[in-house]
């Protein structure tokens, strides 16, 4: 469960990258976070995970305030960034050991989860190689395995499908579904509207730091033209936001 209350963030002290955002992401759902480039998606995810400080507002992850009790909060979520940066001169297995140690995972559990996850994502055979020899997709998979190693209650994924091959992408979507069905939380941002449409239980659209929509796909469709694709709804929504910003009045 993630609770975001009146969160704002500005990089330059003038313009808000995230502007008074309030959002509740419940247990047992896959929540999609959509928006055009520079909308504030990554900034929001980084604030949820404690990578960026908040200018105002508060964020609770599984009941722990990320600024007041950061360690408790961090133990309970996994974050996969949009850019698969890993320690290039560590071997895959060394990276996973490092993550296992940091999260205090006992030996038998980490062994079985490494075995299971690396086979599922097809990177088991390269674990003995340095990660600098990995392709973009392989690094993404390694980070995913590392993130899921401690079986976190909440998954926070920033563009997780980027660089994944179709098989791994399918595996990840399936795992996201299993995780949500087990009563846990998945929050992910994406540009791939088809993925959001197929996977998300609820979704939100953000643009220019402001929340434009929160709800189910059906609710979104009912607000706009029935039977529209998510793509046309998205464009309509964002287009309206731009017009509103240009005219300088009117809000959602």
């Amino acid at each position: 469960m993630i609770e975001i209350k009146n969160v704002s963030k500005s990089y330059d002290g003038v313009r808000n990258a995230v502007d008074d955002l309030t959002l509740d992401i419940k247990d047992g759902e896959i929540f999609g976070f959509l928006g055009p480039n520079g909308a504030g998606k990554t900034t929001t995810l980084k604030m949820i995970t404690g990578l960026l400080s908040l200018d105002s507002g508060s964020i609770n992850v599984n009941g722990y305030d990320i600024e007041q009790s950061p360690l408790e909060a961090k133990r309970r979520f996994a974050f996969v960034p949009d850019n698969p940066e890993v320690f290039l001169r560590l071997k895959g297995i060394e990276y996973l050991r490092f993550i296992g140690d940091i999260y205090g995972i006992d030996g038998p559990t980490r062994e079985s989860r490494v075995e299971h996850l690396t086979h599922r994502f097809g990177i088991h055979d390269v674990l003995n190689q340095m990660t600098k020899t990995y392709s973009h997709g392989m690094r993404q998979k390694l980070i995913l395995v590392g993130a899921l190693l401690h079986d976190p209650e909440t998954w926070i994924l920033d563009e997780p499908m980027t660089g994944l091959d179709p098989s791994s992408s399918f595996q990840l979507k399936q795992m996201m579904r299993e995780h949500a069905d087990a009563g846990k939380t998945v929050l992910f941002s994406t540009h791939v509207l088809e993925v959001a449409e197929k996977v998300c239980d609820r979704l939100s659209v953000i643009d220019d730091g402001k929340l434009l929509f929160v709800g189910t796909m059906d609710q979104l469709k009912s607000r706009y033209t029935a039977n529209s694709s998510l793509e046309s709804l998205f464009l309509e929504l964002v287009g309206q936001s731009e017009r509103t910003a240009t005219s300088g009045n009117g809000t959602w």
């Binding site: 500005s10 990089y11 330059d12 002290g13 995970t49 404690g50 990578l51 960026l52 400080s53 600024e67 950061p70 360690l71 408790e72 961090k74 133990r75 974050f79 960034p81 850019n83 940066e85 890993v86 320690f87 001169r89 560590l90 071997k91 297995i93 060394e94 996973l96 050991r97 490092f98 296992g100 140690d101 940091i102 999260y103 205090g104 995972i105 006992d106 030996g107 980490r110 062994e111 490494v114 075995e115 088991h124 055979d125 390269v126 674990l127 003995n128 190689q129 340095m130 600098k132 020899t133």
Partner: protein, 576 residues
């Protein structure tokens, strides 16, 4: 030329950013940024000022010595050989990462400009920062030399082209050499291995040269002075200049600054530099781009792990040990990190001790004493006589410890080395004090091991009491700790996390500056405190020694307190 100037715009920005990039990442708020810039300028001004003072002192000391010997031009020979030597050393380390390892190279290669334009831009980008060090070390010394020896005004004007002439030609040559290796050898294309091996060879060669020069002739304590014969001539330097035409002509240009011949020599030095630059550009179109495109990431296909190996490789350990282990692996496996931290930290003490032992043995054999010098020192250390010189021992141990610790930049770059991956530190559910301790561990461990070895071996060699060894160890450890913790604090406040090649993380940071230059300031303070206390205490050795020790201890405690305070809020102020 137009394309070159356009290309230089972003490259120039990168160069500048290499010196000041840490601040933007610390906070994005305008007010904080302004404060950081002010602090940065103050820090740079202070350290540059200190370095200039040292350079001037060096210039004055050497020139006065040469005036007495009656051969003042030998100073020019020293600079004309020293600056290119420095260029060769740092040129290799600067050229490889900037020409081949920058993450932005690919974005340049796709531009519709001639390869020679790209190489000219990249060479400029590599050369200017590299020029700074010999410039800082030798330029003020040259000016001081000119003033003392009453050189004509043309001398002072020509010192600037002189510094460029004597550094650019060797830099261009070393760049050509690097490009040939990158283009035609498989060895060089394993970039980590190549960078590691060339850096080690370069450092060993230079240290070997320093060792050689320090064991020649008599030494009065001024670096390089042992190369001069009693008449002030320096055959080794003059011999070296035969192979360095740009330096030789540059030297003549300065030496003959009072006649029109200086123009001829200047033109000659310029022509040599221009010719080498022309060759560099000509070859670059054949060597550079194919070399870059032919590069591959290091690492061979490794065998898959067996279940047993996998179990062993995943064996649990504490978060602290895991972070320390990761730090050591990255230090040892990353060429730029290894050469700037582990290698320099271990080579300098070894070389210094080697020089002392060699000098002692040489003096024993050829010093013309009718007694054994080593036996005399052993007598001094083995009885209570050393206690009378307690303050000298503390002063020497403090200075040596600060010097060795300053070249060991493990702690001073501990945070900057994380780069963008500092995000892991923020994401980890590991208390900050554990992470800070883990970051400091490699530097402190190295210093502890080095001083343990030095204290024990000097005690055994001198047949001294263990109290003598303990005194050296404790004094040295506290002073080494001061440099490590102060420079670590500087890195905490001004981390550079958005570097594009690894060398930036260990060379251009405030922490690295505080470590490598600030140690001279600190050594100056320790000596100052020592002499002040000695004067105030009426020459009482114990009081003087205690004053110096307490001075170091106080700074260590204050710096530790500041680090713990900063650690509490570090994750809040560093956004990534």
């Amino acid at each position: 030329m137009r394309h070159y100037l356009i290309l230089m715009r972003p490259l120039w920005q990168e160069m500048i950013a290499g010196f000041g990039q840490g601040f933007a990442k610390i906070s994005h708020k305008k007010k904080k940024k302004t404060r950081s810039k002010g602090a940065s300028i103050a820090l740079y001004t202070f350290t540059l000022g200190i370095l200039t003072v040292y350079s001037v002192l060096y210039g004055v000391g050497t020139t006065e010595m040469l005036v007495q010997m009656g051969n003042v031009d030998s100073f020019l020979h020293l600079v004309a050989v020293g600056a290119p030597g420095m260029t060769l050393l740092f040129g290799v380390m600067q050229a490889i990462p900037i020409l081949y390892h920058e993450s932005s190279i690919e974005s340049l290669l796709v531009l519709p400009v001639k390869p020679s334009v790209i190489i000219a831009g990249k060479v400029t980008q590599a050369f200017i920062p590299m020029l700074l060090l010999p410039m800082l070390l030798f330029f003020p010394a040259l000016i001081a030399h000119g003033v003392i020896t009453g050189r004509p005004w043309a001398f002072f004007i020509q010192t600037i082209p002189f510094m460029i002439f004597v550094t650019f030609a060797p830099f261009a040559l070393i760049t050509i050499f690097v490009m040939i290796l990158m283009r035609y050898t498989k060895f060089a294309r394993d970039k980590d291995r190549f960078q590691m091996v060339t850096s080690i060879i370069a450092i060993v060669l230079v240290l070997g040269f320093v060792f050689y020069s320090s064991t020649q002739g008599s030494d009065n304590g001024i670096p390089g002075s042992s190369m001069f014969l009693p008449d002030g001539s320096a055959p080794a330097l003059q011999g070296a200049l035969r192979f360095m035409p740009a330096s030789a002509l540059g030297t003549l240009m300065l030496a003959r600054a009072d006649s029109w011949h200086t123009l001829l020599y200047g033109l000659g030095a310029f022509a040599i530099n221009a010719a080498i630059f022309g060759v560099l550009l000509l070859l670059s179109s054949r060597l550079y781009i194919p070399g870059v495109l032919g590069m591959k990431a290091a690492g061979k296909q490794a065998k898959s792990l067996t279940l047993k190996q996998q179990t062993r490789a995943l064996a649990p350990q504490s978060a602290y040990r895991s972070i320390v282990s990761k730090e050591w692996k990255l230090l040892l496996r990353t060429p730029a990190f290894f050469t700037q931290t582990v290698l320099s930290a271990t080579l300098l003490p070894v070389m210094m001790i080697g020089i002392i032992i060699f000098t002692l043995i040489r003096m024993e054999k050829t010093g013309g004493f009718d007694f054994s010098l080593i036996a005399l020192i052993r007598l001094w250390a083995g009885t209570d006589l050393w206690k009378e010189s307690l303050w000298i021992i503390v002063m020497v141990a403090s200075g040596a410890a600060a010097l060795f610790s300053g070249t060991n930049m493990m702690s001073s770059t501990a945070i900057s080395r994380q780069g963008e991956l500092f995000s892991y530190s923020k994401l980890m559910p590991v208390p900050i004090h554990i992470q800070v301790f883990a970051w400091l561990t490699p530097g402190l461990t190295t210093m502890t091991v080095i001083w343990l070895i030095l204290s024990v071996s000097s005690t055994l060699f001198l047949h001294a009491s263990w109290m003598f060894g303990l005194l050296i160890f404790v004094t040295a450890w506290v002073n080494a700790f001061v440099i490590q913790i102060v420079s670590f604090y500087a890195d905490m406040v001004f981390p550079v996390l958005d570097w594009t090649n690894e060398i930036q993380a260990v060379k251009n940071t405030r922490g690295a500056m505080v470590s490598s230059l600030g140690m001279f300031v600190y050594i100056g303070f320790v000596i100052g405190v020592g002499f002040l206390a000695h004067a105030l205490a009426g020459g009482h050795s114990l009081v003087t020694a205690a004053s110096m020790f307490l001075f170091a201890l106080t700074i260590a405690i204050i710096a530790t307190f500041l680090v713990t305070q900063r650690a509490r809020k570090m994750f809040n102020v560093i956004d990534i």
